[in-house]
């Protein structure tokens, strides 16, 4: 990444005036209302907001898991909006990694097989040095032969992280990756995510409603009622909490 590369190229994912409407008529829900955001390469961005504010929806739209009602989404230089199933599948396979809150792993496969699954599906071989690095960073070397049922929740999430990292995707999307974990396991996973950004230049976009988790990120984008309402650079748990409190009040009032 040299200085000559423009700001354009440094964006790993971008939302441009994205609207998302669920349902129609009386039951209509505006989950996103004109969200525009850029997620830079090599940065760890958190998307914060109260429950129901549209965090997951934004992430799904960005990752090509869901279609947008209006606006465009780009991953790297690929326009996601308008891609068919084959294009979306290829995009997910080659450019995107996922970590979900739960049910991340296939119960029939061992940890190692789960980690290598996206690469096997794509028919690619992992870079052995990188694979070793990832395995060592997540600290799972002695658990590689185990099946998910034999792993703790924290270990399972770390396997999911490793799986997302091994393929070196353009961007990893994580939806509440620590939502089901105790604080210690959560911290482990978050540390690991931050390190992969700091040390290996991975791009990560993480949805969370937990200020402590958000504090691990380089930047926090705040969503409320389907709109981006605020942003913090180099956040700490306190600043995040403060911003949240400020956000909450008007929203409460608006109701």
């Amino acid at each position: 990444m040299t200085a000559t590369v423009g700001r354009e190229a440094q964006v790993a994912a971008r939302a441009n005036d994205v609207w998302k409407v669920y349902g129609s008529g009386e039951a209509q829900v505006m989950a996103l209302r004109g969200v525009s955001a850029e997620f830079e390469r090599g940065r760890f961005t958190a998307i914060m907001g109260p429950s129901g504010s549209g965090k997951s929806t934004l992430m799904h739209c960005l990752a090509g898991l869901d279609s947008v009602t209006r606006g465009t989404v780009m991953i790297g230089d690929t326009t996601v909006t308008g891609l068919g199933d084959a294009g979306l599948t290829r995009l997910r396979r080659d450019k995107v990694g996922f970590i979900f809150q739960q049910f991340n792993l296939l119960p029939t496969l061992t940890a190692q097989e789960n980690i290598l699954l996206p690469m096997s599906i794509a028919g690619r071989k992992p870079d052995p040095a990188w694979y070793d690095t990832v395995i060592d960073t997540v600290g799972l070397r002695d658990r590689l032969g185990h099946r998910p049922a034999q792993l703790s929740g924290g270990q399972q999430q770390r396997v999911a992280c490793a799986r997302a990292l091994v393929a070196r995707p353009e961007v990893i999307f994580a939806d509440e990756p620590t939502g089901n974990l105790d604080s210690r396991s959560g911290a482990e996973v978050l540390n690991f995510l931050r390190n992969s950004v700091r040390e290996h230049g991975q791009t990560i976009v993480m949805v969370t409603h937990d200020p402590t988790a958000a504090a691990y990120a380089d930047r926090v984008v705040f969503l409320a009622d389907g709109q981006i309402v605020s942003e913090l650079i180099e956040p700490t748990a306190e600043t995040v909490l403060d911003t949240m409190k400020k956000l909450d009040t008007p929203v409460e009032v608006a109701r």
Partner: protein, 851 residues
Amino acid sequence: MFRATWKSLLARKVRLVLSGLAVVLGVMFVSGAFVLTDTLGRSFDQVFADAYEGVDVNVNATPKVALDELEGEPVSPPVPAALLERVRTVAGVAEATGIIAADGALMIGSNGKVVTSFGPPQLGENWLGESDLLTLREGREPRADDEIVINAALAQAAGVKVGDRVGVQTPFKSKKEDFHLVGIFGFSGGRDSLGGANEIAFTTPVAQRLMLGEPDVFTNISVQAVDGVGEEKLRDDIAAAVGDGYQVRTGEQMSADAAAGLKEGLSFFNKILLGFAAVALLVGTFLILNTFSIIVAQRTRELALMRAIGASGRQIIGSVVLEAIAVGLIASVLGLAAGIGVGALLAYLFGELAGGLALAGLGVPAAAVIGAFGVGLVITVVAALLPALRAARIPPIAAMQDVATPDRPLTKVTVSGGIVTAIGATLLFLGLSGNAGDLTLQTILGGVFLAFIGMALLTPLISRPVVGLLGAVFAWSVPGKLGRLNSGRNPRRTAITAAALMVGIALVTGVTVILDSAKSSISALAEDQINAELVISGVQSGPRPPSFDPAVLEQAAAIPGVQLVDGEYGDMAEVDGKATWVAVSSNVAALERIFSAKATAGDISRLGPDQMLFSSDTAKSRNVSVGSRVTVQLSRGEARTYTVSGIYQSTELTSPVVLPPQAARDFAIPQPIQGFLQLAPGARVEDVRPQVETLLADNPQVSVADRAAFIKQQTSQLDGLLQMIQILLALAIVIAVLGIINTLALSVLERTRELGLLRAIGLRRAQTMRMITVEAVVISVFGALLGVAVGTGLGAAVVEALKDEGITDLVLPWGQMGLFLGLAAIIGVVAAVLPAIRAARINVLGAIAHD
């Protein structure tokens, strides 16, 4: 609780539809069998009622040889014309008619071939004029001896019309004779035939000569009473007048007796159909068991929650069983409806095949309804019981935990499987070794049933390694590997699904092994024992085997190069009061020289007119030895006493008893049925054969074939049997395919989240479909493999047990087995189509958010 059950039932209707379908098919088979046989039975009643409508009393001679249903049709000897005169003198008789109607009048169609029948008789009759029942549709009655009229169905089958010259082959004439077809008749109600019978009516003297072989005799006498005279009274008066040796019955009795014989056949047919229905239902039971197990597993959280909020284990069982009852009821109703439809359709097809059997109105016998609901409900509830018990054991805490259903150990299943298999094998052994006495058939069937259940219980244990091995074939691709793992992840589910397929394929394989072994053994024996280069015979298509002119035998013997000729006659007779198959060899020397018979006592190379031969087995069982005097009553003539002059070694091909050539005159068919020609050394088959063919030119019923072709033709009857069994078992296989579809569909539903995850990380639609297909193929090939193995075992056991009966070769139908495995792979692909499409269509986001 009821509301909850009902709601959950509605919520999972798709899942239940498939398992319900299995019950529907099984119930359809059961009720269809009842409806079919009931409709046919009532139709035949009507046919006979019509046929005897104008008859108040009937007189015929008592059959000389009493036979029961399985031994064949008893043959009544003709009654003399003098008897007709005597009947006419009985007070109360308005009219007495001498009737000739005998089976075996074969018309040669416009294509030069004999018109065949697959069951109904081909009657040769005397023309008695029109009646309420019978009217001429075209032409006129036969007046001259070379004129005939025939029924419309026969005219159509033969492709002949009034004015044609047509050939007719009759039992007492060696050659076909040509007649002028002067008329075509039909029956009341626009019917072309009565119950499919073909009828040719001659003038009375011609009918006597051709159909009965002597002048001034009739088949029976039909009597109409003077108005006001009761049938029963007239019957008794006539019986008193004609004396012993005659059967005098009212028209009603006649039609009831005629129908009773057919109905016995129908009820046997019904039992066979029900047997196949039982197989289909066994397979269906597996399917339902599996569905309910999967549904209970999927509802673990829901059921646990119900337990947590206070439902008792009993209520949980009740809820699952209630669901089963609902499914069983709906399936029974649908199955009954489908069964009525199928039964009616089959009856219609049967009627068409039988040449226009007018069907009685469709009826639903009580047995069909009781059978449908009994079977449908009982099977469903029994199959749901195990899963229900399991559901009751779900701890309430499971609601709070993540549903990590640990693999329950297979020890219990395996042990019980071993025990059940062992019991089944023991019963089989007892039955097959003939130690079960009167209950042999039941013991064998029970053994097979238990062996299947036992094997199904053992299958989970076998499934791990075998499925792993089978799946290894596909493991080179990621979808293949995932599919293989999926098929191995739930050994019980895979096992039951595969076991369902196993049952059908095992039965087909077993039957194939037995029939192929029998075929090969008989062929080998025939090749070993029959020293004839050429054989004259025909293909039997009705109750009456084709026969030919005995003169052909003499003419054939005169052909240069022919060394020895023998004609074989056969009939059922009473030998010392016991119904026995008796044979006549026109050339007794043939016994040793053509059929390789070995004398165990006396002399079998010649036979005087008062002498007879016994096979060693029959001699032993009847306690007869050389010098014994034995009374034989043939189909015709008086009983006669013979002296046993020789005993030959029994083989599968030997007849129990051989009579001297003179006896053949009194056989029901007094003509040879088969002719065997032995050629002189150096004579060539190609040279002799055309000359024999010219001898047979007049008789299109029979032909001459070399020995190999003859043996093949004889054993080909087994092929037809095999095909029929395969068609009937196909239903069991269809149900098993439904089972595979069902299991896959349920698995796809269950793994929605997982499939979403796979799609999220980049698995393409096509790859997803391939994954499901591999799973299906592995399961179905596993089932077929089990079926082939179990079937071979069963077949081999039966063949081993039949060793004493002469089935000495064990033939394993490798080609067929390969075919089944290939077929199973195709079945897997087909079964996977819908679930695979469903899996590929899963909405990625929806799956991940799925709760």
